[in-house]
């Protein structure tokens, strides 16, 4: 495992509500790094601030103070076209509700990030087919999202997130809407992508099973990182047990 950080987070704060009115501090100074090729999980109960944190990291929202860099680029003050281009080139998203465009076929959904950059049509087709066969959805490429199962949809979303070879892949409860078999398949897929293509992954979840696939887990509580778990050489089953134990005490 490489030790150069792909993402650094320094003293991140987020306060909701205007000064003078009733304010709520969702993040109270978050610090951590993600190394290149690492598979990191962020866990926490509802309202712990984990989704807020993900939104800051994935440039979907701006922090009140603090700094985030991805691939050595500070991202917290990106705006307009530079923000759009950064999202298109450097990061990929997978959401709980898939966020596929239901007006387009799976193929068109996956190809979208490439057509957005006006990639030559000749290059698009092989790229989409390659990523689709890798994710096992080659046969569904001409289907519309409403003709696919949840697991298939989520793999199409993953293919769309990966086609640009992003520096960082963000997952927001990606298994939240899946049955256990599909969830297991998707997580296996994440592990393979992480190992084989060295894509750094940051997963936000409240589900211990999903988290057990990560190499490192940050526990967030009331806007702060409370605890950190490293999988090291533990088997996934043992790590799962360790997570359960930690959660048992952490939430008290």
């Amino acid at each position: 495992m490489s030790t150069t950080p792909i993402m650094t987070v320094t003293d991140l704060h987020k306060t909701y509500g205007k000064a003078g009115s009733k304010q709520y501090e969702a993040l109270k100074g978050i610090n951590f790094n993600v190394n290149a090729g690492e598979f990191v999980g962020i866990m926490g109960a509802s309202g712990s601030g984990k989704t807020t944190l993900l939104n800051m990291l994935a440039t979907l929202d701006q922090p009140t103070s603090g700094e985030v860099t991805i691939n050595q680029q500070p991202i917290t003050h990106l705006k307009g076209n530079r923000l759009a281009d950064f999202r298109a080139k450097e990061i990929g998203f997978i959401f709980q509700d898939f966020n596929l465009l239901e007006t387009m076929t799976a193929y068109e959904n996956i190809a979208l990030p490439l057509t957005l950059q006006n990639t030559a049509a000749k290059k698009i087709k092989p790229a989409v087919e390659a990523v689709a066969s890798h994710l096992g959805i080659a046969e569904f490429l001409n289907n519309y999202p409403n003709e696919l199962s949840g697991g298939q949809k989520q793999r199409v979303a993953a293919a769309r997130a990966l086609i640009n070879e992003p520096a960082m892949l963000f997952g927001d409860e990606p298994t939240g809407a899946l049955d256990s078999k599909s969830a297991r398949e998707l997580l296996d897929l994440f592990t393979t992508i992480n190992r084989e293509q060295a894509v750094s992954i940051l997963l936000v979840t409240h589900d211990p099973f999903s988290a057990s696939y990560c190499q490192r887990i940050l526990f967030i509580k009331d806007g702060k990182i409370g605890q950190e778990l490293n999988r090291a050489d533990l088997s996934r089953q043992d790590f799962y047990q360790q997570i359960l134990d930690t959660l048992g005490t952490f939430e008290q």
Partner: protein
């Protein structure tokens, strides 16, 4: 409690309700505007010499009713889609179906009646404003036009309330028969654009056939009479719809295969269009029809406007004739820079007015005589004394004289005879300017000064092109007014139809645009995408509408001087300008909804 809940839903979605309300208000206002003319028998009788106009209005009424039906259908499904979630939620918390049904029915009716009443008020204001603007800018004379016309208001109210009662029942059934969970998660399902070559080929053939029949019957209106208009309306509406249905699907499937679809958001835009393809073909066919009607009406209105001076020029070769001009009048005539000014001398006897034949031989009198079958073209003839006495058009000379002379016979006498008459010699000055319309104001003053000296010199007795212009303008004002008025009303209707349809889908599109932004689409690209999508929806019916108008104008060739096609670029340009404004407004509102 439920009523209170319903009201909070109302407040939360005021923006959507604003779209709904403004759409319905516009629609009922325009319907009222139309009915204000169509049901006003006195107005129609007074202002048109063509009996067919009344019937054309009847057809127009039927067509507008059909369009209103579809329009309210859209409005209702928009309302339904807005409320589905809320009502689903009420059911989930245990509200009784009967109670909910009552609420739905009440809400639909309340929305409908409020919008209709405001619409009628707005409609009568618009009728007043628009007719004032048209009357002033076109110099029209109209009688019996009432901005507030009770039968029109009643017709509008009855139709709309009736339709909303039906819509209310429809909503009641649709909502109470559907399980609560389905209401909560009712998402649009995409229409997979399918190519069914045989079916689409048949559609194209039938479509083209029925449009051809329509065009043919419009071109042969002189044989078919009223039936022609009916046939044309039915066949063209049907043909337009079938063509759109067949070609639109084809076009999108075809475009998606081109490399063009792989650039930027083009693929997304095409998918957006194909997503609602079924809904759009209906609205596009309607919009194409409205477009044709609106553009046609304005073009014909302008045609009549152009017609007036042409017809006036056919009534006489001179603008005016004045007996014994004063020096002041002489100066006024000179200021008009007449192209021809001739003075004939005469003496009045007991039974006849005696003119010097030699004067007419030296300066022949010009007349306009109609030529051709239609009697709508004129030839200028210059007549000497002998020819003038024999000519059928000698009345054109007679009318230019003073009122006293017009009672007597005109006699040409030789120089010798003339000198032997003992009566005092008088003068008749006739003149013609370059443009009777441009010189209207000065000619009016001149006529007034002469009328003060010769009180009987009113109306047609004044003679010449100026009084001809007054007469023809009075005759055609009604037609011109109807053309412009209906053109603008139809344009407003079509634009609000299209706008409403596009905007009612905006809420569903919002999350797609948010999603695109999340995966890194530049705002400028999003803007371009939505501009293109809406442009396609505006341009397609526009093209079809223009084709319809080009063929439809043939209908008017038998009541117009020259071709009804001369100078059509001007109404087309004006129309394109107005259409563009509607497009820009739609883009602006749509952007505000989806991009926020």
């Amino acid at each position: 409690m439920l009523t209170k809940l319903a009201m909070t839903g109302f407040q939360k979605r005021w923006r959507d309700y604003l779209v709904l309300f403004s759409g319905l208000i516009m629609s009922s206002a325009i319907f009222y505007m139309f009915e204000a003319l169509a049901t006003n028998k006195a107005f129609l009788k007074q202002n048109t010499s063509i009996s067919m106009v009344g019937m054309i209005f009847q057809f127009g009424s039927v067509l507008l009713t059909i369009i209103t039906l579809v329009y309210i259908g859209y409005a209702n499904s928009f309302l339904l889609s807005m409320r589905k979630r809320d009502y689903g939620l009420f059911m989930l918390v245990g509200a009784r179906k009967g109670k909910i049904g009552q609420l739905i029915w009440l809400e639909t009716l309340l929305v409908g009646i409020t919008a209709t009443i405001i619409g009628i008020a707005l409609g009568s204001l618009l009728t007043m404003g628009l007719s004032q603007v048209l009357i002033n800018s076109l110099g029209l004379t109209l009688h019996h036009l009432a901005a507030w016309y009770f039968p029109a208001a009643l017709t509008t109210l009855l139709l709309y309330v009736g339709l909303f009662i039906i819509a209310g029942f429809f909503n009641l059934i649709a909502l109470t028969k559907t399980p609560a969970l389905k209401l909560l998660h009712s998402n649009d399902q995409p229409n997979r654009p399918k190519l069914k070559p045989v079916r689409q080929l048949v559609e194209v053939i039938i479509g083209l056939l029925s449009i051809s029949i329509g065009y043919w019957s419009m071109a042969n209106l002189d044989k078919l009479q009223l039936a022609g208009i009916g046939i044309a309306l039915v066949t063209i509406v049907l043909g337009t719809y079938l063509l759109f249905n067949a070609i639109f699907v084809w076009l999108i499937v075809l475009l998606k295969r081109l490399p063009f679809a792989n650039r930027g958001l083009n693929g997304f835009t095409l998918s957006q269009l194909s997503f609602r393809i079924r809904n759009y073909t209906k609205i596009l066919a309607i919009v194409a029809m409205l477009f044709a009607l609106a553009l046609g009406a304005i073009t014909v209105g302008m045609g009549f406007h152009r017609q007036v001076p042409l017809m006036a020029n056919g009534t006489s070769a001179y603008d005016m004739g004045i007996v014994n001009t004063t020096s002041q009048q002489q100066a006024q005539i000179k200021a008009l820079k007449p192209t021809t000014e001739t003075t004939y001398h005469f003496k009045i006897g007991k039974k006849a007015v005696y003119y010097r034949a030699s004067e007419f031989n030296a300066q022949p009198f010009a007349t306009m005589s109609p030529v051709g079958k239609t009697q709508l073209k004129f030839k200028l003839k210059r007549l000497d004394a002998q020819k003038l006495t024999k000519s059928y058009e000698r009345y054109q000379f007679g009318q230019l004289q003073g009122s006293a002379q017009q009672q007597l016979a005109t006699t040409m006498v030789s120089e010798q005879q003339y000198q032997s008459l003992t009566q005092p010699e008088q003068r008749l000055t006739v003149f013609v300017t370059k443009d009777v319309v441009a010189n209207q104001a000065a000619l009016k003053k001149l006529a007034a000064s002469q009328q003060k000296r010769d009180h009987a010199l009113q109306g047609q007795v004044l003679g010449g092109r100026y009084s001809g212009y007054q007469m023809v303008n009075g005759m055609y004002s009604g037609l011109e007014f109807m053309g412009f008025f209906l053109g603008i009303a139809f344009l407003a209707m079509l634009a609000s139809c299209l706008m409403f349809k596009i905007l009612s889908g905006a809420a569903a599109d919002q999350h797609r645009y948010v999603m695109l932004a999340k995966i890194g689409t530049r705002t400028s690209e999003l803007n371009n995408a939505l501009r293109k999508e809406i442009a396609v929806l505006f341009i397609l019916p526009g093209i079809v509408g223009v084709v319809h108008v080009l063929f439809g104008l043939k209908m008017f060739s038998f009541i117009m001087i020259g071709s009804p096609y001369t100078g059509i670029w001007l109404p087309f340009l004006i129309f394109a300008g107005l259409y563009l404004i509607y497009y820009l407004i739609t883009v602006q509102i749509y952007r505000r909804i989806v991009l926020q």
